[in-house]
Amino acid sequence: MISAGTVVKLDDVTFRWPGQSHDTIAIDTLALHAGEHLFVRGASGSGKTTLLNVLAGIHVPTSGRIRLLGTDIAALSASRRDQFRADHIGVVFQQFNLLPYLSILENVTVSFAFSRSKRRRGASTADANATAGRLLRSLNLPDDLHSSPVAELSVGQQQRVAVARALIGGPEILIADEPTSALDADNRDRFLDLLFDEVDAHGCTLIFVSHDPALATRFTRVIELTETDSGPPTGRPSPT
């Protein structure tokens, strides 16, 4: 059973690449409530990326069940999973994850391209632009920057545009993949503050993946993915 407010629920999820002898990820159970902040720590090669792709519905787990917002996404067709991601999941990557050929505003509104429900929520193009503009302003990106090319922004500003793109249309789940790896300590803290403020303001559930253990203290939930080299690789929820 899924209790009310459970946004993410994983049961006995394993993923194994074809032709490999061991699972890249194996998670017994994991449940996230709405608004929770989960930190997934793991060094490179520990299956972080695979886990992200599984959570985002790009890959289907080899076994087990993943329920997002009550939907068994492994049971959906590939295109329905893509649609589900477009509608309900926002993603923030490492640096350089903006489309260089779009303006800052367009980089945010491009999220509407593949999502019917986000478009509904964003309504018309004019509304979409207004919503995106509001969001960008709230992320401390003033109007005069909105039509400039991405290349004119600092790395920190680019990350904020990326957050705006992930959050526009009000996705229930936000997945962040090493978004701070290119930032120095000051910027990193400021970015985390901003990220938490925004996801809380949108009532969004955050899944944050990083190799940096120093960040873990700021999250309510932490899981650790173990190295693939040492024995069978597993991801186990830590007791924190």
Binding site: T49, A56, A86, F93, L99, Y101, L102, S111, F114
Partner: protein
Amino acid sequence: MSLLRIALKSAQFRRTSLLLTVLSIAISVGLLLGVDVVRKEAKSGFLNTISETDLIVGARSGPTNLLLYSVFHIGDATNNVSWESFQVISSREEVAWAVPISLGDSHRGYRVMGTTPDYFDFYRYGNKNPLAFQSGEPFAEVYDTVLGADVARDLGYKLGDEIIISHGLVSVGFTDHDDKPFTVVGILEKTGTPVDRTVQVTLAGIEAIHVDWQGGTRSGLTVNAEQALRFDLTPKTITAFMLGLENRALTFRVQRDINGYPAEPMSAIIPGATLAEFWRTISTVEQVLFVLSGLVLVAGLLGMLTTILSTLNERRREIAVLRAIGARPVNIVMLIMLETLMVVVSGCLLGLVMLYALLAAARPFVTSRFGIDISPSLPDTTQGLIIFGVIAGATMVSLIPGFIAYRRSIQDGLAVRI
């Protein structure tokens, strides 16, 4: 924001390399279409070297040989046709008009053709075009001559000039008919046919310059131009003659009758059919040209494939971002194919524009120099098929980068390791 808009913006961002690709496609498409245009114009120009003439009659020989010497003035007749036979056949009731021609002399490398003023009334070329005069008029007197456009231009003749005709086809001093000069009374417009390189004189003039000749050399007695006019200048033989019939349906019957004419062995050919047959033997050249420009096009498409493949690596992040916001792998393939289509369609359009601009610019020159009128017309079926084939081929080609992008977008998912 639609997929098309994303594709447009993305392509715009990488415009330098894409524009070069567009240019190379444009050049190869323009070349292919250009070869097609020239080929068609050359063919129709050739096939219409002579039109509205139903039969050409000469001494018995192969059709190609008869065509070559009578129309193209290449080579020599094997034998002549007697004036009597010409009279008999031209007075048949099926015959609407008959124009005799007499070849064998030359003027500074250009063939001299003796004929009657009817020639200017009945000879047609191209799309039933009559011969038109730049200046002057058809000949009336025995020693009048009408020059083809090239002859007048190359030798710098104008109305009223006198020219000397040489006996035979090579101009060697003592064989000139220098005692009987001809006066230029007319200069024809450019036709793009062998007429341009021909000196037309009266049939009687041909007789007159030969009255004091025997077997290719001057005979002992000399007859000056005035005296020659008092001789009977009706020719005994002519080289060939052209016939126009009252009714085209009678062509085969008249042809059969001439070929079986008992008094003299003669051949009658249908010029259009013989021209078409002759064209087939020399059309290998056009096919080679066509194949070559086809290969240029293949090279252009391969260049495009290379360009698009090389951009795939730098586009991996872009593809991952699009996947993250919900793009399906199929959308990624469409994105690549849209870009290819944009490149190819603009390449084809640019190629067309370049070709027609070039044709329009070259038209006056080509018309005056070669007599071929390359009227800029809308692309016909062949050209439509070529363009359609190019676009279809490019779409097929774009499946290759499309498929690679598809596989990568599934493998990479949201994380790109570069």
